[in-house]
Symmetry: C2
Subunit: 293 residues, 2 copies
């Protein structure tokens, strides 16, 4: 059957795309059949709509190969390529709508990004995650209550795994001058749902731009900067894990984040700390989780 797409151009073989899709065998999983048929149709329509040439396609192939060649345990350039065209942010939205599926307001999600480590050791509440203090760092007391989004009751025993970059824009695994696990903490809420820690006021930084993602940003006449933010994942056996980022509402780049992660609900206020001996700023941030479906 010919492809019924509105974008089919009559000069190109109208049976080609269906032939490719129909080559899929009966033992492919139903999900694989559905997703790949859709992917093949979109990729082919994209090529036809733009009269994509062999040379242009080969430039794309080389970019993909380059992404793989730059990727390693500390860096995921394939992910970053997706991020700069908004794909990670979009699948994050999709996944959370599927997982939560309720009307009450949970904390909004944002992309994980490539710098999370899943081996940060447990950290005591009210301690500091600053192991290597930069000269221009502003210490912030960050704290809040984790609540059930439906009942507003505090939740005990929620892990709050937090990470941020230093004031030079680098995460500890990117920067040999920083101690291991600098600016990472893995807290657990107490019986009042409380978590608290000392961290830095975050700063904007560029995503790594020495690879294909940087090249793509340059070709699109875009900057590589992200607004100042703190990452965290809040999780507990009984609640849907929440991955997000909170953004300093005074930061640059809030309206043009290079990876499209900002949401209004995630903007936060760093306020001067009253009577603070350990911190000059305070950030109060409560988290609302949805029970697992």
């Amino acid at each position: 059957m010919p492809d019924g797409s509105a974008n089919q151009k009559p000069q190109y073989d109208p049976t080609f795309t269906d032939n490719v899709i129909n080559a899929t065998g009966p033992a492919a999983s139903p999900r694989m059949q559905k997703v790949m048929a859709s992917l093949i149709r979109h990729v082919h329509d994209f090529a036809r709509e733009n009269d994509l040439t062999i040379d242009e396609w080969m430039q794309g192939v080389q970019m993909i190969n380059w992404a793989g060649q730059m990727s390693n345990e500390r860096r995921n350039e394939g992910q970053l390529l997706c991020d700069v065209i908004g794909l990670e942010s979009l699948v994050d939205e999709i996944t959370n709508k599927l997982l939560v599926g309720a009307d009450y307001e949970t904390t909004k999600t944002a992309v994980l990004g490539p710098f999370f480590r899943n081996d940060t050791p447990p950290t005591m509440n009210d301690t500091s995650i600053i192991k290597t203090m930069p000269s221009d760092g502003e210490v912030t007391y960050m704290h809040g209550i984790v609540r059930d989004a439906a009942t507003s009751q505090p939740i005990e025993g929620v892990k709050v795994d937090i990470w941020q970059c230093s004031t030079n824009g680098l995460y500890e695994q990117q920067d040999p001058e920083q101690a291991e696990f600098n600016l990472r903490g893995n807290f657990t809420t107490d019986k009042n749902g409380y978590y608290g820690l000392y961290c830095l006021r975050p700063v904007p930084y560029p995503v790594p731009d020495d690879g294909p993602a940087g090249k793509l940003l340059e070709l699109l006449d875009r900057h590589p900067y992200r607004p100042a933010h703190i990452h965290f994942i809040a999780s507990n056996d009984q609640y849907t894990p929440l991955t997000t980022q909170i953004f300093d509402k005074k930061s640059k780049y809030l309206t043009n984040d290079s990876v499209f992660a900002v949401k209004d609900e995630l903007l936060v206020d760093f306020k001067p700390m009253e009577n603070g001996s350990k911190a000059s700023l305070e950030l109060a941030y409560d988290i609302r989780l949805a029970r697992k479906l």
Copy 2:
């Protein structure tokens, strides 16, 4: 402006895709702006149509990174991933329609594939390209006339760059047992438009299936085989270069080539050679080229 796509799902932010597209700066080239806007829209529509989850997307990212990591000077796995979803064959069709743009019949094109070498030394007509003879090889006298597609006049001085794999399914750069440039020749037509050489009858072979392209074929319940074929590029300063493959009409896999390159017009007949001392088979194949626009 909200995306007008029929596939937009109301539960997802209707402004997101336009925001990503509109981030492109004014200094991006018009072609880049057009192609990337189309790519972003298709990729986002693909994700929404399939409610693509973070885990599924990350499997795709890992496949892309794996492709790059396996690619080197002798292997292009990013290209092969595209080939098994028909994309190289499609951009080949598109490019040739753009380049030729005439109604008269040129020889049909087919994909270059990953095994071409651009450094094959010039070869004399009527010599053999078999440097390493396999025990089961069937020597074929291949010859023909290269003609102008509009006038049918023979063309002198056309380079005919030919390559094929050996009977074990491997090209010389994949196989340390084969001499360098085995089964490669770079001929030039004489004043009668004639080219001629001795080669092997080709055999079907699987595309390399130890990487992500092989994994994708497995997930799609497809085999990796290509029907028996001989590659060539015919080129001359005054004519549009022609890249194609000719297929043994008695081969297996003609209807289910793993890279979708077969066209009816490219099927050829290997006939017993009459009075042949140097070859047991004969393949007569004329080539028709279009003048450059």
